[in-house]
Structures are given as structure tokens and as C-alpha cells.
Amino acid sequence: MSHRILIVDDEPNIVISLEYLMKKEGFQVAVATDGETALQLASEFVPDLILLDVMMPKKSGFEVCQALRAAPELVATKIIMLTAKGRETEVTKGLALGADVYITKPFSTKDLVLQIKSLLG
Amino acid sequence: MIRSRLTAQRLAFLFLLGCFFFNYPLLSVFNRGGDFFGMPPLYAWLMGSWLALIAQMAWVVESRGD
């Protein structure tokens, strides 16, 4: 059974690229373009891994991450934070809030896929 | 010389006393007829008080008490 991946980003072009990449790897993909939709979809879709942007309308990635980690049914879900904000403090903050990996944009598609595969074991 | 402030002040007091002795209204008290040991009262008063004032001034500046 293929893994389920939830892509959360408000940049349409980035969503297109990520969706294409994940589908190519054979994952099941869902997309949310803001934080609230992301939380809703996460509880319905119960993804194995979430690619989470930080800068988003309505709810920031940090808030979403915190909420996800509080949900018992999503304990196993891995979270990769993908963000253009690369400052040390933000990386630390993301990891402290429960993200498994923190990747700064622009990222290497090859590395991203490798990271996902290793997280999903 | 005038040895101390105290001496100067004593003299100044005599100055005020003199101003009082030699002027109206005290003067009008003696400005009358009659005689005082054979002298007109005004003459006796002025010469007498004048001499007394000089004596006091002498006493004030010459005494070494202060």
C-alpha cells in the first residue's frame, strides 16, 4: 500500500511541483493551500507524512505543526517543514514543535525524495 | 583709631542720643523764660547736654574695657 502524503503550501507553483514529484514516486497525495484546510484534511486523510510550509494565510506552519502533534490519531505522521525562512531560530522552533525534518527552500528535489523515503522507512 | 565695632556702635548710639538732645521736640521743653542756676534754661540745657555728650564720647573711645 502506497504512503499518503499531505502537501501544505500556498504557493500554487510549488504545490504543482511537489504534487508531481510525489505522484511520480507513487504516493497518494492530498493538497491544502492554507493552515485550516491542512488540519481538516489531516484528520480525514490521516497522511503518513506531511510537507508543511510555514508562511501561509490563516494559520502558520508552526501553528499547524503544534496542532497536529496534539492530535492522538496522528502520532505516527511524519512532518517535514519546508520553508523559505532559513534562520537558525526558526529551524530550532520548527523542530521543537515536533517537526521531524526541516528543509529550507529552495530545496533539491532529489534530496527531498530521499528524505521522505528514509522517514517512511 | 576706633578699636572695635562695639566702640563704633556705642558712638553711633551717642550720635542718635545727640540728635535727640539737640532737636525738636526736646528743645521746645527748655525754650522758655526763667532761669536755671542763673542761666537761661535753653542755654543751660544745650551747653550741659553737649558737654555731657562729649564726656561720654571721650569715655567710650578712651576706655580700654572692650
Binding site: K58, R87, F107 | I2, L11, A12, Y24, D35, V61
Partner: protein, 934 residues
């Protein structure tokens, strides 16, 4: 036996003795064994106060008004009771400053003013001349009376005798010669005359002895003691009136006035100042004089009233002038010897007064009147003449002769109109004019030269008008109409009832007016300004007493080589040399050549010179050789004035602390602003980085995907490439805007400012966006844009703003149903006077959309490039086409043209961006103006 030649011989014999005494005293002084360094001599010499006025005149006044002669002697008694405060201080000040006369004293006190010294001299000379005339009159009268012995004949009226038969003329000439011999034999640096003082002390003894002798003869020789005289007097009604005095307020007022007047006269008369202050050898002598001088006055007045009463009893009727009773009573009883003794006593009183007075006056005339004038005349070349000491003596000798000449003139002109006492009182009133400036100068630091000049001049003029001129008029020398009817016939200007003041005797009347004006002008004018540097320094020296003498008077220096010749010119080289050598020894130096050219030496030289030529002239002379360092007069003056110093200091402190507080606040604010800026910059960089990375992310991701998977189908590939291109475009636009903003902020942007028709710009901007609007099916409404509204701006920049606003609006309106409307209007805004604007009008452009609107709290934030970002994710971030920098850039541009850019919005009901620019009155505008525009 009392032929004229006997009297003349006796007179010359007496004068010869005096001269011998003086000569001997001078000899003793030169050998350092002063004859007059003795408090008794000092006290006796003060007896120069008693002139012929006392000797003959007191009896005359007693015959006229009883005890009324006495205030003239009570006043000095009271002055000496104040010796500790006034005389003592004057002596110390005068010694410390080598004061040589009352004129010098006043001149020195008010900044060593030559003008002031001259004025005091003039007043003193004019004021004292009647007094000298009085002595001449007394001596010549007593001579005439005595010469007619055994008959008692009153002398002829002065002026009735041909001038060369007038004994007064010869008296004047003899006295002049005697005084010249006496007082101007040599020039002394201290202006002290030991021989003269010794002679005066002897004269005081002679006149006292003579008067006491007459008194004893009259009381016990002619009568049976004083009681007998008083008893006889009481029996004669006419004489008995003299046993009391007039019992009226005016009489007591006059009495008090005379005490007050004589108090000042005994200090301020030039001869009194000379003897009491200048000739004082040792200030400790003052202690004895405090009681001895009043005692002298007491003794010389003891028999005045009895003698006067006896004279009135003995010479009933007006046949014998009461002023001569002292002489005529012994004559009437054939006491030739006593009569001659009395005559000598009178001569003694007269010569004493004339000698001291004329010497004092001649010093003043020479030092304060003639020398300053001569030194100022360059053609005389005096300033460079080697030895002036001879000239100084010459001037003084002439001054003595002239003063006595003037005295004789007054005697001829006005001498008969008044009794002796009245003439003396005219002089008293004149010198009383010095009282405010002298006493004030000793105790009040605020007096200025101008104040002293004004006070003296005012007082002097009033004295002359109310007292001196009437005395001329009464002698028929001036038309007397102005006494009765006032000057120019104006009643108010009657000299003896000035401004309608009546009920006072002429002396009191004169004093009331002259001292009122004098004091008022002195204080009033002084208070016009702060004393200047020199006045303030002298004030400190005088008011602060001798203790303050340490204050250096000169800020410059000069050497012995300059100062010694200078002093030598006035003192004679030998004397000057001696004085300098003494000064060197005092300073512990071996000789003159070791004296350093310092302030102390200059001060010494000035004081030395002051003794010979007066302080004002001395200062001028020393100034000619001393190179004084430049003084910031105003500055130093302020420093000297304690009060203003403290005031200025406090003010400065307050100001400084205020400045500090302000600076602190500013610094704190600046710091806060810097910290905020730092934070903002951090945020900005973070935001910019984010904004740059976002398109980069897409570009990289798609590029990598295309690179790694060559099998992607063509449609997909074209789509990916399209995305890459559009993101690249976005990236470059972003970079351009960041650079643009940086340029705007740093002020390095280039502007081409011209008159721009706003409507044209709007249309052009709209045109460039037509395609985009059409794509989204959004309506753009430009109908309210009329032409002719001109602003001063950069056309391209304005276009940039317009495009930005329009594309912003386009971004946020819904597709198909979106509407954007542009409005343009000119508004009168008188309440906002814009910089450089003639017309208080502005052009307003609004861009209204029907988008979602903006929250109130975000309406400011959207213009803030730094704030835009993290916390404002749901605000306009104009993604994907925008960069978030459009509005900040637009605002910068509008504000550069003195305009404003803001947004009005109700969330849910669209937004309206408005910018306003000052309207420029252009050509188009003028033609279209509706007239309401100024």
C-alpha cells in the same frame, strides 16, 4: 598806641612766627621726627573749622537770634560721634588710594573720572569763594576798627572805598603770598603739609585763647559773672528775647537743617577734608579727636552768648555791628592789649582758614582741572616733557592767587549784603552737594560716574539758582526782579520760593530742592546701568574698605624703565628714585633694577603719582606707558557684578540641565528608533529572503524535474517551462523593486520634476493595464477624470504609483464581478498650508475597488515595507504577481512631492486608496479657473 603801623607790624610778626613754626615742622618731618604725629595736634588742627565766622560771626548771630549760632557746632560733634563709621572709613580709603582732595576722592570712587574730578573742583571753588570773601571782610573790618582806636567807628561799606585804598585787597594779597610760601614750597608725593598742619594747630590755640580771654574779661571783668549778664539781659525786653529762640516749626526746622548742614560741611569742606583725611598722619589719632575736637568747639562757644548779650547791653541801638562785639567790647573798656590779642586771634582764624582752604582748592584745581586739560593738549607737548614738577607748583601758585582774587571780587560785589554767618552758610550749602556722592560712594556699590555727575550737576545748578544768584542780586550786582517775580516773570521759578515752596528760610529752601534733585539724580541715573568694570573695581575698594585693596587695578605690566621716568616727571627724578628704592626694599629686593615689571609695580607707580597729580590724571599717565591686556569690558563687568553673576550662573545651569534632559530624551528616542530599525531591518531581510526564495524554489524544483526526467510529455514540459519563466520574471521584478526602494530611501533616486497633468497619467496607466483588466473581466471606470489639474512631479514615478495602485486593486477584486473606479478632484484645504504652495489646493486621486477590504489595524501596516511579512500573512501580500513592496515605494514617491498616500476601507466593502498632491496653478488651470481659486 594802636596806630595802623603797630597793627600791621603785629600782624606780620604773628605771620612770621607761624611761618617759622611751619618751617621747623617741615624740617622735623624731613628728618623723620614728625612734630605733628600727635593726636592733640590733629585735634587742634581740626579747629580750622572755626574761622572768623566763628570768631566774630557767632557773637553776631547770637545777638540776632540768641542760641541760633550753636547748631553749626553741634553738627560736627555729631559727625565725630559717627567717626567709627564715616571718618574712619574715609581715612583708610583715602590712605589706601593716596587721595589728595575731596575732588580726587569723588573722581577716584567713580572710576577715576577726570570729568567728575573737574566738576567737584568747580563746585568747590565756586561754593567756597564766598567763604573766603568772608575772611577777607572780617580781617579788613577788624583792622579798620582797631586802627580807629580809641574811637569805635564802623568801617565804610565794602566797595565804597577805592580799590587801592581797600585794606581787604592788601589782606588778600598778603594772604596769597603767605599761602604760596606756605603750601607750595615743594611738591610732596603724598600731598601732605606737615608744616602747615603744625601752624594751623598753633593758630587754633591762639584763636581759642583770644576768645576765651575776651569771654573771661566780659563775664568777670565787665560783669559779675555770667549770672549777672543773664540777669541784666532779662531786665531789658529787647535783649531778653535772645534768651530763648523762636518757638515755631519753621525755626526748629531751620535749627535741624543747620545741624545737618554743618555735620556735612565739617567733613566735606575742602579744608576739612584736607585736615581730617589727607593730613591725617595716623588713623589712631582719630580716637582722641572724637572728643577733643568737639570739646574745642564747646570751649570756643562757651562765652558766645554772654558776650553777645553784654554787647547788646553795652551798645544799645544799631550803632555797633554785633559781628564786632568781640573786638569793640575790650576797646570800649580801653583794653588795648586785649583788643590787639583779639585782632590777632581773628587774623589767626582767617589765615588758618584761607591757607588750608586755598591749598586744598589749588591742589584740586591743578590736579583735577588744569593738568587733565593741559595733558590733553598735544601742542603743549606736556605729555613728553621731562620734568613737570616745576610746572605743577607754578599752576598751584597761580591757582591760589586766582582763588583769593575771586574771593576779593565776591567781597567787593556781595560782601555787604549779608552777615558773616549767612555768607558762610552759602558755602556750607554748596559743599553739602557732595554728601550724596561721598557718603553714597562709601556705602553703596551701585553708584556710577554718570549718576554722580548728574547728581552733582543738578544739585549745583539748584544751589546756584536758589542761593548764589540771589546773593548777587541782593547786592545789586544783578537785577533783583527775578527774586520777587521769578525767572522770566514766572512765579513758580522764584529762586527763593521755588515751585511755590514757602515758609522756609533760604538755606533750608535751597537744601530741600538741591539735595532732593541731587540725591534723586544720583540714585536714579546710577540705576540706569550696572557699574562698568572700573567703577565696580573702585566701588569695591571704597565700599569694601581697605581690605579690598588687594584687588589688582591693572591687567597689564610695565617696567621700571617706563615708570620711573614717568614718576620723575611729576615728582622730580630724585624723589621718584627714592620712592622706587623704598618700594624695592619693602619687597625685599636689593635695588630698583631688581623690580619685576608686574601689576604690583604698576599699582605702586599709579598710587605714587596719584599723590602728586590726582588719581584720574595718574591713571591716564600710567595708562600711557602700561600695555594693558585687552579686557572684555562687558564680560568682566558682568563677572564683577556678583548678583548678575549668580543670576547668569543659575540661568546657565538651568539651561544646561534643560538641554541635558532634552538631549537625554533625544538620545533615548534615537536609541529606541535604532533598535527598532535594527529589528525592522532584520525582519525585512528575512522577508526579502523569503520572497526571493519562493520563486527560486519553483524554478529550481521544475528545472531539476525537467533535468532528471527527460521522458516528460511535451505538454507537461511546456507547462513547467512556462512556470519557470514566469517565476524568473517575478524574481527579477522583485529584485528591481528592492533596488528601487533602496534608492528612494537613501535619497539617491533621480527625479525629473515637471508640471504633470494628472488625468493624462491616469489614462496612460490604465491603458497599460487594459489587457490584464480584460483578462480578469474587471471593469475600470475613469469617467470622473477631468483634464487640467496640474501637479509638480516626476511623470514616470507618478505613473509607477498609478500602475501599482491599479494592479493592486485588480489583484483583490473578484474576477468577472470586479469593479475598479478612479476618481480625480481638486480640493481646497486652507487648513493645511503646504510648504511652498501659493494655492492652498490639492489634487486628489482615488482608486476604489470592490474587493475584500482591509482590516482597520492593517491599514497602516500595508504601507510599511518592514512590517509586511510574517504576522501579516492574511493581509495583502499580492502574491503571486506582487512583491509586497509596491505600496511602500508608492508612498515614498508621493511623499517626495509633498503629498500623502493613504487607504480608506471598510472590511468586506472594498478599499479606496487615495493620494493627494499639492496643486500647481498651471496655464491650463488659469484658463479653467472658476474664480474661487486665489
Amino acid at each position: 598806641m594802636l596806630q595802623s603801623w603797630v597793627i600791621v607790624l603785629a600782624s606780620f610778626f604773628y605771620l612770621g612766627i607761624l611761618f617759622a613754626i611751619a618751617w621747623y615742622a617741615d624740617r622735623r618731618a624731613d628728618t623723620g621726627r614728625s612734630l605733628i604725629a600727635n593726636p592733640v595736634v590733629y585735634s587742634l588742627s581740626l579747629g580750622v573749622y572755626c574761622t572768623t565766622w566763628t570768631f566774630y560771626g557767632s557773637v553776631g548771630r547770637a545777638a540776632a537770634s540768641g542760641i541760633g549760632f550753636l547748631p553749626i557746632y553741634l553738627g560736627p560733634t555729631l559727625l565725630f560721634a559717627l567717626a567709627g563709621f564715616i571718618l574712619h572709613k574715609m581715612i583708610r580709603v583715602a590712605k589706601a588710594n593716596r587721595i589728595t582732595s575731596i575732588a580726587d576722592f569723588v573722581a577716584s570712587r567713580y572710576g577715576k573720572s577726570q570729568l567728575l574730578g573737574g566738576l567737584v573742583t568747580v563746585i568747590a571753588v565756586v561754593g567756597v569763594i564766598p567763604y573766603i570773601a568772608l575772611q577777607l571782610k572780617a580781617v579788613s573790618n577788624s583792622f579798620a576798627i582797631l586802627a580807629s582806636y580809641p574811637d569805635i567807628i564802623m568801617p565804610a561799606k565794602a566797595g565804597a572805598v577805592p580799590i587801592f585804598q581797600d585794606s581787604a585787597l592788601y589782606v588778600a594779597m598778603i594772604l596769597a603770598a603767605f599761602t604760596i610760601l606756605f603750601g607750595t614750597r615743594h611738591l610732596d608725593a603724598t600731598e601732605r603739609h606737615e608744616g602747615m598742619v603744625a601752624a594751623i594747630a598753633v593758630e587754633s590755640m591762639v584763636k581759642l585763647a583770644a576768645f576765651l580771654a575776651v569771654g573771661i574779661f566780659v563775664v568777670w571783668g565787665m560783669h559779675d559773672g555770667a549770672g549777672d549778664i543773664f540777669a541784666q539781659a532779662a531786665a531789658v525786653p529787647e535783649v531778653a528775647r535772645r534768651l530763648t529762640t523762636a518757638d515755631s516749626p519753621a525755626a526748629y526746622g531751620t535749627w535741624g537743617t543747620l545741624i545737618f548742614l554743618s555735620l556735612f560741611a565739617s567733613l566735606l569742606l575742602p579744608r576739612q577734608f584736607q585736615i581730617a583725611v589727607v593730613e591725617n598722619v595716623d588713623e589712631s589719632h582719630l580716637r582722641r579727636a572724637v572728643w577733643m575736637f568737639p570739646l574745642y568747639l564747646f570751649l570756643i562757644n562757651l562765652f558766645v552768648l554772654p558776650v553777645a548779650l553784654a554787647g547788646m547791653l553795652h551798645f544799645p541801638g544799631a550803632g555797633v555791628d554785633a559781628d564786632t562785639f568781640v573786638l569793640t567790647l575790650p576797646m570800649a573798656h580801653q583794653q588795648e592789649g586785649l583788643a590787639l590779642f583779639v585782632y590777632i586771634g581773628g587774623l589767626s582764624a582767617a589765615t588758618g582758614m584761607v591757607i588750608v582752604e586755598t591749598i586744598a582748592l589749588s591742589t584740586m584745581v591743578c590736579n583735577d582741572l588744569v593738568m587733565p586739560a593741559l595733558l590733553r593738549l598735544p601742542m603743549l607737548g606736556l605729555a613728553t616733557r621731562a620734568d613737570l614738577s616745576g610746572l605743577l607748583l607754578e599752576i598751584r601758585r597761580w591757582a591760589i592767587a586766582v582763588i583769593l582774587g575771586l574771593g576779593y571780587l565776591y567781597f567787593r560785589v556781595a560782601g555787604e549784603a549779608y552777615a558773616l554767618v549767612s555768607i558762610g552758610l552759602i558755602s556750607f550749602a554748596a559743599v553739602a552737594q557732595f554728601a550724596p556722592v561721598v557718603i553714597g560712594g562709601l556705602f553703596w556699590k551701585g553708584g556710577t560716574r554718570d549718576g554722580a555727575l548728574a547728581g552733582l550737576a543738578g544739585g549745583f545748578v539748584l544751589w546756584a539758582y536758589t542761593l548764589l544768584l540771589p546773593s548777587f542780586a541782593k547786592s545789586g550786582w544783578l537785577p533783583d526782579g527775578f527774586i520777587a517775580h521769578g525767572l522770566f516773570g514766572i512765579e513758580f521759578l522764584r529762586p527763593q520760593h521755588l515751585f511755590g515752596l514757602t515758609g522756609l528760610d533760604e538755606i533750608t529752601h535751597c537744601l530741600v530742592w538741591s539735595l532732593l534733585v541731587n540725591l534723586g539724580a544720583y540714585i536714579g541715573v546710577s540705576l540706569q546701568r550696572v557699574p562698568n568694570l572700573r567703577e565696580a573695581r573702585q566701588a569695591t575698594l571704597f565700599v569694601g574698605g581697605a581690605e579690598a585693596a588687594g584687588i589688582p587695578g591693572w591687567r597689564g605690566s610695565a617696567g621700571v624703565t617706563d615708570l620711573l621716568p614717568l614718576a620723575g616727571r611729576f615728582l622730580g627724578l630724585e624723589r621718584a628714585h627714592e620712592a622706587f628704592a623704598r618700594h624695592a626694599r619693602q619687597r625685599g629686593l636689593r635695588g630698583i633694577e631688581e623690580l619685576p615689571p608686574d601689576t604690583r609695580l604698576v599699582n605702586f607707580a599709579e598710587t605714587l603719582l596719584a599723590g602728586a597729580i590726582g588719581s584720574a590724571s595718574a591713571r591716564a599717565m600710567v595708562a600711557s606707558v602700561v600695555t594693558e591686556e585687552p579686557l572684555g569690558i562687558d564680560e568682566v563687568m558682568n563677572i564683577l557684578d556678583e548678583a548678575s553673576q549668580v543670576r547668569a550662573y543659575t540661568r546657565e545651569l538651568e539651561q544646561k540641565s534643560l538641554e541635558l534632559t532634552r538631549a537625554t530624551a533625544e538620545l533615548r528616542e534615537a536609541n529606541a528608533r535604532l533598535q527598532q530599525l535594527d529589528r525592522m531591518k532584520d525582519d525585512f531581510i528575512s522577508t526579502v529572503t523569503h520572497e526571493l526564495r519562493t520563486p527560486l524554489t519553483s524554478i529550481r524544483a521544475f528545472s531539476e524535474m525537467l533535468q532528471e526526467d527527460p521522458k516528460i510529455d511535451l505538454a507537461q514540459r511546456a507547462r513547467f517551462l512556462g512556470i519557470i519563466v514566469s517565476e524568473a520574471v517575478r524574481l527579477s521584478r522583485l529584485i528591481n523593486q528592492i533596488l528601487d526602494l533602496a534608492k528612494l530611501e537613501s535619497g539617491r533616486a533621480e527625479w525629473t520634476v515637471t508640471a504633470v497633468d494628472v488625468a493624462e497619467v491616469i489614462r496612460e496607466a490604465a491603458e497599460s493595464l487594459t489587457v490584464l483588466f480584460a483578462e480578469k473581466h474587471v471593469a475600470l471606470d475613469l469617467d470622473a477624470c477631468e483634464d487640467g489639474l496640474i501637479v509638480l512631479a516626476d511623470r514616470d514615478r507618478l505613473m509607477q504609483v498609478m500602475v501599482n495602485l491599479l494592479s493592486n486593486a485588480l489583484k483583490f477584486v473578484p474576477a468577472d464581478s470586479g469593479r475598479v473606479r478612479v476618481g480625480l478632484a481638486a480640493l481646497c484645504v486652507p487648513e493645511i498650508p503646504l510648504r511652498g504652495q501659493v494655492t492652498p489646493q490639492e489634487v486628489r486621486v482615488s482608486v476604489t475597488d470592490n474587493g475584500p477590504g482591509i482590516q482597520a489595524e492593517d491599514q497602516d501596516v500595508i504601507f510599511d515595507k518592514f512590517r509586511q511579512g510574517a504576522g501579516t500573512a492574511d493581509v495583502l501580500t499580492d502574491k503571486p504577481q506582487g512583491t509586497g513592496l509596491g505600496l511602500p515605494i508608492s508612498r515614498q514617491i508621493i511623499e517626495y512631492f509633498n503629498g500623502r498616500l493613504w487607504v480608506e476601507s471598510t472590511p468586506g466593502a472594498g478599499a479606496c486608496f487615495v493620494f493627494a498632491l499639492p496643486r500647481q496653478a498651471g496655464d491650463n488651470d488659469a484658463s479653467k479657473s472658476t474664480g474661487g481659486v486665489p
